[in-house]
């Protein structure tokens, strides 16, 4: 026992030493201080209207810690601030648990619902139940095809096939012959649609590659292996922004000169576009998906307005290249692009 106590005391002493050292060992570059210097642009936002304080709930199929859905949420929260809305958010990547979450918000009698239909069949019943309970539903991101049939007001998002087609056309424009489509989640319908859309318009050959999205070293070594085994590949398309810089590393390791392009945007992708390590990014503007969904629900509650005449409202695809990157960098850093 004495030994354990002595160990504990040693650990405390060490911790204290490190903490003191940390005060001395400051970094004069980067870090939080640099961030604070450039912050303060994102206004917290006050309510701009005096409509009743309605509660809107959003339930997505996002996994834990997904940067994309973080931006969607940022958009939704800022619209909610402006519209005097109480915004609640839930997510689960398992379709069944996602529908249970929606049900729990129906039970709480929220005033509006925003849901994603990544796995439409599992969500059909619960969306119908919301309609029956008189709760207006807006679908976002995925499920444009079925949104109306299920009884949702409207859909806000990007058609994944269309986004893929845009990538295929951009690759043609850049004279690419053999491209690789890197899927980071096996069995995700949206991912398959993106690659299939690309295949449709791309005049060269497109191959698919599955990687384990939650394991970055695996993503890197798998892309590396693919580039080593096929020297003709002249472009790599990743389906999520965090994977693009990893693909750049893989390219360097494999000694390939393929161009790296990606779906979606984040700060590092903006940097990569600017310094030329990335070719282009196709953004679906997730901020808009959250912001518009809340705003459209508010418009419906306030004025019975429905934007898009029941047709999907598209938020993308927007092709971003080197010349746009500089302007978007600041926005990616504050988490709204």
């Amino acid at each position: 026992m004495a030994r354990v106590r002595r160990g504990a005391r040693a650990v405390t002493a060490l911790l204290a030493a490190v903490l003191t050292a940390s005060l001395a060992g400051c970094s004069s570059t980067g870090g939080k201080r640099a961030e604070e210097a450039r912050a303060a642009q994102t206004a917290g936002g006050k309510a701009a209207v005096n409509t009743p304080r309605w509660t809107f709930a959003m339930v997505t199929h996002s996994g834990d810690g997904d940067t994309f859905w973080d931006i969607v949420q940022n958009g939704a929260r800022q619209a909610a601030d402006k519209d005097n809305i109480k915004f609640v958010y839930g997510h689960d990547k398992e379709a069944q648990r996602q529908s249970q979450l929606v049900q729990s918000y129906i039970d709480q009698k929220v005033d509006g619902l925003i849901v994603t239909l990544a796995k439409p069949d599992a969500m059909k019943d619960v969306v119908a139940r919301a309609e029956k309970a008189g709760i207006p539903v807006i679908t976002v991101n995925s499920g444009a095809e079925v949104s109306k049939a299920y009884g949702a007001l409207t859909h806000v998002g990007q058609d994944e096939t269309m986004a893929g087609e845009a990538v295929g056309e951009e690759l043609n424009k850049r004279g690419r012959k053999k491209a690789l489509c890197v899927l980071h989640e096996q069995g995700n319908v949206g991912h398959e649609q993106r690659c299939d859309g690309t295949k449709k318009t791309f005049k060269g050959e497109l191959q698919k590659l599955y990687v384990e999205g939650t394991n970055m070293p695996d993503v890197q070594s798998t892309i590396e292996a693919k580039l080593q085994s096929d020297r003709d590949i002249d472009s790599v398309v990743t389906l999520g922004a965090p994977f693009a810089p990893t693909a750049v590393k893989a390219r360097e390791q494999a000694g390939s000169d393929a161009e790296i392009d990606t779906f979606d945007l984040n700060a590092k992708v903006a940097d990569g576009l600017e310094d030329g390590s990335l070719g282009f990014a196709v953004d679906q503007q997730p901020y808009l998906q959250g912001y518009q969904a809340v705003d459209l629900l508010w418009l419906y509650k306030y004025n019975a307005d429905v934007l898009g005449g029941g047709k999907p409202v598209f938020t993308g695809p927007q092709v971003i290249t080197k010349k746009d990157a500089a302007a978007l960098r600041e926005y990616t850093k504050r988490g709204t692009r």
């Binding site: 940390s22 970094s27 940067t67 070594s221």
Partner: protein, 356 residues
């Protein structure tokens, strides 16, 4: 500790009948046959030969370096996990602990605007503390390690996400690539060196170092005997004076140490960390150790075996890509390959034991 007047003959798992086996001279071949990693080595050779024929790019030096890199990122963790399994316990929190460790160093450096080495140091302490927490709870509550570390797994997953979101405002950390000390830390944890034109990732060196260290501990030190004894039977071990509690806590600290190394690699390789990563990787480490001949019940296994297991996994997962097989079936191929390697492993071991 008190009355051990009856001498215990052999607390290890190899206790056989007949004359005292310690006095029997055995040939080199015999001794090799009885090593736990023998089956895995044969399995690895089989997988290697298979892909040498199935994929023409597999044998290139650059390809092998990629395979070794993939193996090393699993292998670094498989070493202490194997030791832990020999000691009769599991750690389901090992996968997310790697990410926790990376998150701590990244966020500490960033928020304090400190030299990144400070964050790296704090992260080492925090990660070791998680290891102590696992070991301490295990020895105190006497609950199965499966439950304890499953609890830690969920808590860490939640903490990773909650803290990152709370502190950074987003679910991934900010890039620390422009901070002081980053370059020297990257050199240690995530650089690559060119040996005769072949790129060697530094993780491979870490991996080899850890395997050597663990093998030395297991075979040449008193602590190694304790690990085998605790895994073979904790009560019997305690009766002959093995410090069971300390050994177990030490084993969990070993896992934490390797998680710290892997975490720093992750951080300095990609300079920003996704807080949701790492889930599921704990099984890869356990698989590598099990394929490499560690018994799921404890008391038997080796660090080299775990390394060979990680190598099999690395070869199988990248070999499928080199062979350009239809990616829709990727996971199936991977599973079948691992199963076959393990079956071959078990079969070889049975044969080896039969000839003893």
């Amino acid at each position: 500790m008190s009355t051990a007047d009856t001498p215990v003959k052999d607390s290890g798992p190899r206790g056989g009948a007949g004359p005292d086996e310690r006095l029997v001279h055995r040939s080199l071949a015999r001794r090799l046959m009885s090593r736990p990693e023998l089956g895995a080595v044969v399995g690895a050779a089989a997988v290697f030969l298979f892909f040498s024929f199935a994929a023409d790019t597999f044998l290139r030096a650059s390809s092998l370096s990629t395979v070794l890199y993939a193996s090393s990122t699993i292998g670094i963790m498989a070493v202490p996990v194997a030791l832990l399994m020999i000691g009769g316990e599991f750690d389901l929190s090992a996968g997310v602990m790697v990410v926790s460790s990376a998150l701590v160093s990244s966020m500490f450096s960033y928020q304090m605007t400190a030299n990144v080495w400070v964050g790296v140091g704090v992260s080492l302490l925090v990660t070791l503390a998680i290891g102590v927490f696992n070991g301490f709870l295990l020895t105190r509550t006497k609950l199965p390690s499966f439950i304890i570390t499953l609890g830690t797994f969920f808590m860490l997953t939640g903490l990773n996400l909650g803290f990152t979101k709370l502190i950074s405002g987003t679910v991934s950390t900010k890039s620390i690539a422009d901070m002081e000390g980053f370059d020297s830390a990257r050199a240690l944890f995530a650089s690559h060196l060119s040996v005769g034109g072949v790129d060697i990732q530094v993780t491979i060196l870490w991996w080899i170092g850890l395997v050597a260290l663990a093998t030395w501990i297991l075979l040449r030190t008193r602590a190694g005997n304790w690990i085998f004894a605790v895994g073979g039977g904790a009560d019997a071990a305690r009766a002959v004076g093995v410090p069971v509690t300390r050994t177990r806590i030490g084993l969990y600290m070993g896992v934490a140490l390797a998680a710290w190394i892997s975490g720093q690699h992750l951080l300095f390789s990609y300079d920003a960390i996704q807080s949701g990563d790492g889930v599921g990787n704990e099984f890869l480490y356990i698989i590598a150790a099990a394929v490499g001949g560690c018994l799921m019940t404890g008391g038997y296994g080796s660090a080299i075996g775990a390394a060979v297991g990680a190598f099999i996994f690395g070869m199988a997962s990248k070999g499928i890509v080199y062979a350009q097989w239809n990616p829709d079936w990727y996971k199936f191929f991977l599973g079948a390959m691992l199963l076959l390697a393990t079956l071959l492993n078990a079969w070889v071991r049975k044969r080896a034991e039969a000839t003893k």
